[in-house]
Every structure is written in structure tokens, then in C-alpha cells.
């Protein structure tokens, strides 16, 4: 499946910001218990039509349970799930206009590719010619027409993934659920398929809910990400917001690389927060974060989250550095080819990470292990986190 055309980005697509928008899916205070274990804890969430929503979290955080409740394989212990305004909490899976693409693909091994895709249509009693037309259409969509009469075990992993996708799309579901859909593919194929999924979702105008533990995947494909931990949604926001304005230490740490600096608020003004680093040297300059302070008041113990790519590293103290500047020793260097990550250890033992693009070849590296370096960042770079 090649990229057929680059869709127009859904530039103004933000129904979650519109209070009058009607959600397609609504979780109302949903709790799911397995014995004593609370998999999903009093969770409320709206998902909108044509949205690509990603549920992200570590294994056991409840994201798969949430998806399975949407599919009908689990019923909520408390709360309701509304689909298009209708309460579907107790509806069995075969009565829901929802289809799921399984992590294992769950292709029927005794049926051909075409029969797998036709399976859902046959259950609805669709006339044979129509089924055939629809199956051909789906095979065309995932570019598997020459493989229609093969059995699943005669296909490669990538082809199986596409059969599973075609099968789950064949019934034109109101909502498509994807449970770690790309987990079994290798990295290159996974990245390619991510873009194909986005194109497909846009072209078909469907609503997708994807479960993944891969934060890059979630960032790439989705309109919004819901970060989950221990059965609760920690933050629901578009990828850029999640990355740049994480709500808690957990989110900041889970998404991308980050340095969390423990600090105490010294002054909180409108749009600017001044802080003192915990364990700072006597002559260290104060920290300043702009804008926003997460509602922190003077005296609060907080963390400042700084993305490594926003930290500049130099061998000399930067000119006019009166805020957000620290010094330390290069402790570790992670070389990634296109960039390197420097782990700099400050005098009190705190490690701050800085990412530098490798603009010149490795042989000419200016900064190396145990060098004393200065790290600095703009006031706009850090985020004050209370939680």
C-alpha cells in the first residue's frame, strides 16, 4: 500500500475545543474491576467523529481493557459507554457497529484472504454479488488483490496485517478499534504503515481508536492522545500539547526524553515563574519559566521539565546568562548518528540531558567525556509541573 496522495492536514479539526460538538463515543464514569484489581478507574472521555484517538500507556495501565469495553468483550462494572448517543454498555460485540483489528490479527486460518474479508459481510446476510464487490474493493484498498485465494499462513507479516485491516474495515464500522496494530511489524514497515493508516483514516472519514505503548506511534498517527496510568487518564490532548505542555511528571517522563529538575518556586507572577533549583550552588542563577506556572504558588516544591533538544551545551559560560544556566561535567554521551545526547552531571549529582545535532563529523567532536560544560535554555523551554 503506497501513499496515494498526501491528504490535506485537518488544520482546523478540533471538535474537543467546541463545547457544542456531539461526541461519537462517550465514557461516563466508567470503572472496570477484575476481582480486587481496578483496571479502569472512574474514567470519563469523549471521542469525536473522524478523530484518530490514541490510548497510550505502559502495559497493565487499562488501555486495552478500555478498548475491549468499547468492542463489547468486557462490560463496565460501573458507568456507561455511549456510542452515537446510545448506551452500548451491555450490548454484545455482535450487535455493535464497531469493529476491531486484533493485535494478533486473529485471521481465520481455515479461510482464504477473500473469505476472511467476507466473513463479517456474510454474517449480515449481504447478497453474494455485493459481498464480492465489497471484498474486491477492500482487496484493492490494501493492494492484496493477487493474494485473494491464499491462506493466512502463506502471507508475510505485513500482508497479514493488511488483511486484518481490510477485514475490520469491510463492514464500514462507525468506529474502528486497533489494538497494537503494528506491534508485530519491524521498525521500517511500522513507520511506513503508520502513514498509510493516517491516509486511510482520512480518506474513509472514519473514527479510529488505537491502543499502543509506542509513544512515537501515538504521536505520529493521532489527533489526540490519552495518556493512561493505573486505570486513569492522566492527560488528553493533541500530540504537540502532550509533548510541549505535559500535565504531570508522569506524562513528561513517558512521552519523549526529558530532564526533570527539582525546584522551589520563589516568585509566581502572571505568565512567569521564578524558581530556585533544589541543591543549587550559592552562585547559581535562578530558573525562569514562561509562560504558565501550573498554578504554582511561591514556596511550592515543583519539577521543571526540560526537553533535551531545547538545552544548549557549550564549553564556556554563555554571554549574559543571568537565568536558566547550570554547569557540570559530561558524564555520558549517547551517539545516535544524527544527534548526540549529553548527560551532564551537576555538582549536587543531578543529571541534565542536552541534545545536540551532529553538524560536523564525529572526529571533530568538540565536547567529550569529563569536560566541564555549561548548559542553558530559554525561559520558554521549561514547564513547571506540580503533579
Amino acid at each position: 500500500m503506497s501513499i496515494r496522495r498526501t491528504p490535506q492536514p485537518q488544520r482546523d479539526y478540533a471538535p474537543w475545543a467546541d463545547p457544542s460538538a456531539v461526541p461519537l463515543v462517550r465514557f461516563e464514569n466508567v470503572t472496570k474491576r477484575f476481582g480486587d484489581f481496578v483496571a479502569v478507574d472512574d474514567l470519563s472521555l469523549d471521542i469525536y467523529r473522524r478523530e484518530f484517538f490514541a490510548l497510550l500507556g505502559p502495559s497493565g495501565c487499562g488501555k486495552t481493557t478500555l478498548l475491549r469495553m468499547l468492542a463489547g468483550f468486557e462490560t463496565p462494572s460501573e458507568g456507561r459507554i455511549l456510542l452515537d448517543g446510545e448506551d452500548v454498555s451491555r450490548l454484545p460485540p455482535y450487535r455493535r457497529p464497531v469493529n476491531m483489528m486484533f493485535q494478533s490479527y486473529a485471521l481465520f486460518p481455515h479461510m482464504t484472504v477473500a473469505a476472511n474479508i467476507a466473513f463479517g459481510l456474510r454474517q449480515d446476510g449481504m447478497p453474494k454479488p455485493e459481498i464480492k464487490a465489497r471484498v474486491d474493493e477492500m482487496l484493492e484498498l490494501v493492494q492484496l488483490a493477487p493474494f485473494a485465494h491464499r491462506k493466512p499462513h502463506q502471507l508475510s507479516g505485513g500482508q497479514r496485517q493488511r488483511v486484518a485491516l481490510a477485514r475490520s474495515l469491510a463492514k464500514k464500522p462507525k468506529l474502528l478499534l486497533l489494538d497494537e496494530p503494528l506491534g508485530a511489524l519491524d521498525k521500517k514497515l511500522r513507520e511506513k504503515t503508520q502513514f498509510e493508516l493516517m491516509d486511510l483514516q482520512y480518506e474513509l472519514g472514519l473514527t479510529f481508536v488505537i491502543v499502543t505503548h509506542d509513544q512515537e506511534e501515538a504521536m505520529t498517527v493521532s489527533d489526540r492522545i490519552g495518556v493512561m496510568n493505573q486505570g486513569k487518564l492522566i492527560q488528553v490532548a493533541p500530540p504537540g500539547e502532550i509533548y510541549e505542555f505535559p500535565a504531570t511528571r508522569y506524562v513528561a517522563d513517558f512521552i519523549g526524553d526529558v530532564t526533570l529538575i527539582e525546584a522551589r518556586v520563589t516568585a509566581a507572577a502572571e505568565g512567569e515563574t521564578q524558581l530556585a533549583r533544589v541543591g543549587a550552588e550559592a552562585d547559581e542563577v535562578p530558573l525562569v519559566c514562561r509562560p504558565g506556572n501550573g498554578g504554582a504558588a511561591a514556596g511550592d516544591a515543583v519539577a521543571v521539565a526540560i526537553r533535551p533538544e531545547k538545552v544548549r551545551i557549550s564549553k564556556h559560560r554563555p554571554e549574559g546568562a543571568d537565568v536558566n544556566t547550570v554547569t557540570g561535567q559530561v558524564w555520558d554521551i549517547g551517539y545516535f548518528g544524527d544527534f548526540s545526547i549529553y548527560h551532564v552531571r551537576l555538582a549536587d549529582g543531578t543529571t541534565v540531558k542536552a541534545q545536540e545535532p551532529n553538524l560536523s563529523r564525529l572526529t571533530a567532536r568538540e565536547i567529550t567525556w569529563e569536560d566541564t560544560v555549561w548548559l542553558s535554555w530559554a525561559p520558554e523551554a521549561g514547564v513547571v509541573l506540580r503533579g
Binding site: F73, Y94, V98, A106, S168
Partner: protein, 308 residues
């Protein structure tokens, strides 16, 4: 896998390893088979042993020639002339087939329940299926006499305790008792392959079927059952093949009208002391059973290929 052979371990070691089972088959299967085949081509004689000719190893080439000339297919012709034999064969196949079907009907829900039981319970359930093997087959069949006879446990329950019926049911010494005996005795052979097939069935396939609009009933017939077919066929062959030649069960539980080739053979051998005819019966039974055995082998090979 000749390429994977470690140096020094090839040649004789391998040949010896392969030779051992072949020697076993030769000594304990092929040689007795040849003797039975030879007897089936001989004639009845009032002698010891009760057939002739007997190979005279000291008679030289002429003696062997006379011996071979004396062998004929007379006994096989006889099997086609007396209707008792073909009726016995037919009845055996029929009883075995019906028993197999009954065992499938009883065994499938059992195996399904075992495969769907909590993972921790499965070894125990499996153990319970195998447990009857710890008691002698003969004793277990005898035990059924105690249950099925007119004043047995079953009638005690039905007449005296539950009062369902006034007259005790006559089950013992009927073909029904034979069905009960065969289904009971061979049920583990049905349950085990079914369980193996159902246990490895991926639960997400059923969920996928439900997700695509199947009711649980249709999901069973469209996904679970077709995928358990190798287990169904394996179980059916494992019950059918031994049941056709069954002797103990019809002898102990069956009645005079229960016709099975195993009992016919026994009567021919011990009652009539007609070794040649009973040998012919045995050889023919073997030939009849070769057909399903070959099918079974084919099936196993195909499953192995599909699994690879």
C-alpha cells in the same frame, strides 16, 4: 538433516537406531502375521496342530514345493459363502461407527469444557480423563455388568429410588450394553485429541468472529468446529479402529444377537477349533481396517505439514 549430523555419530549409530524398531516390527508383527496368513491358506485337520500342510523343513526343495502346492484360498471363498461372516463384518463396522458417533457427541462437550476451563484446572481435568486407565480394562467392563444387569445399580436407582419405572430395564446382554461399553471404554481416546485441538485454538479468533457479527452459536460452527476438525477426525479413527475388532465388550455385555467379528473369530477359533477359517477371518479384518488406518495416517501427515 544429513547436513546437521555431528562428525563421528553418523553411519552405524543411526542405522542401529532405525533398525531397532524395524526389528521389533519384524519379530513381533510381521512374523506372526506370516504364520497367521499361512494358516489361513491351509486346510483343517484332525491333528496337532489342527491344520495341514505343515512345512517339513527337512523335505528339501521337493518338500517345499509340495507344501506350497497344498496352500489355497478355499477358506476365503468359504467366508463369502456363509452369510454369518459378512453379516458379522457389517455389524461390527456398524456398531463401531455408531459408537464412534456417540463418543464424539459425548466427548466434544467434555473436551470443549476442559479447553475453556481455567488454566489451573486443566491438568486436573486431563488427569481425570486418563484416570480410568489405571484400572484394568477387563475389570472396568465387568463393573458395567454390575451396573446394567436387571437387579443392578442402574435399575436400583430407576425403580427403587427414583421410581421412574416399575419394570427394570433390560440393558445387559443387548446391543445397547455394547454401545455403552464401547463409548465408555474408548471415550478418553476421543476426548484427548479433541482437547488438544480445542486447547490450542486462539481465543481471539472467537472474539474476532463475535466482533464481525457472529452470534456465539454461529461462531462455534463457523470457527471453533472447523478448526477442531483435525481433532475430531483423529478421535473418530482412534475409537473406530479398535472398536471394529472389539471382543471383550460384546462378549461380556452383548447378547446372543450381538454380532461382532471379534466374537465370531473367537467362536471359530475356540469353539469350532477351525484355525484356518478363523485365521482367514483375522486377515480379512486386518484388510478391512487398513483402509481407515491409511486415511488416518494421511490425515496426520497433512496436519503435520499444515502445522509446519
Amino acid at each position: 538433516m544429513a547436513g546437521a549430523q555431528a562428525p563421528g555419530t553418523g553411519g552405524w549409530g543411526r542405522i542401529a537406531l532405525i533398525l531397532a524398531p524395524y526389528l521389533w516390527l519384524l519379530v513381533f508383527f510381521l512374523a506372526p502375521f506370516a504364520i497367521v496368513l499361512k494358516i489361513s491358506l491351509s486346510d483343517l485337520a484332525i491333528a496337532m496342530p489342527p491344520y495341514e500342510p505343515v512345512l517339513d523343513v527337512f523335505g528339501g526343495l521337493a518338500g517345499i514345493g509340495d507344501f506350497l502346492r497344498a496352500l489355497d484360498f478355499e477358506n476365503y471363498v468359504w467366508l463369502t459363502q456363509d452369510s454369518l461372516y459378512w453379516r458379522s463384518y457389517l455389524s461390527s463396522v456398524q456398531i463401531a461407527a455408531v459408537s464412534t458417533l456417540l463418543a464424539l457427541l459425548v466427548g466434544y462437550p467434555m473436551a470443549y469444557g476442559m479447553a475453556r476451563a481455567p488454566r489451573a484446572c486443566r491438568p486436573t481435568l486431563l488427569m481425570l480423563v486418563i484416570l480410568p486407565f489405571w484400572t484394568s480394562f477387563l475389570i472396568r467392563v465387568y463393573a458395567w455388568i454390575g451396573i446394567l444387569k436387571n437387579e443392578g445399580l442402574l435399575n436400583l436407582l430407576l425403580v427403587d429410588i427414583l421410581g421412574v419405572t416399575d419394570t427394570p430395564l433390560t440393558i445387559l446382554n443387548t446391543t445397547t450394553a455394547v454401545y455403552i461399553g464401547i463409548v465408555y471404554s474408548y471415550l478418553p481416546f476421543m476426548v484427548l485429541p479433541l482437547y488438544a485441538a480445542l486447547e490450542k485454538l486462539d481465543e481471539s479468533l472467537i472474539e474476532a468472529a463475535l466482533d464481525l457479527g457472529c452470534t456465539p452459536f454461529r461462531a462455534f460452527w463457523q470457527v471453533t468446529f472447523p478448526l477442531s476438525l483435525p481433532g475430531v477426525l483423529a478421535g473418530c479413527f482412534l475409537v473406530f479402529i479398535p472398536a471394529v475388532g472389539e471382543f471383550v465388550i460384546p462378549d461380556l455385555l452383548g447378547g446372543s444377537d450381538t454380532l461382532m467379528i471379534g466374537t465370531t473369530l473367537w467362536t471359530e477359533f475356540f469353539g469350532n477349533r477351525d484355525w484356518p477359517v478363523s485365521s482367514a477371518v483375522a486377515i480379512l479384518l486386518l484388510l478391512i481396517l487398513v483402509v481407515p488406518i491409511v486415511f488416518f495416517q494421511r490425515l496426520q501427515d497433512r496436519n503435520r505439514e499444515a502445522g509446519a
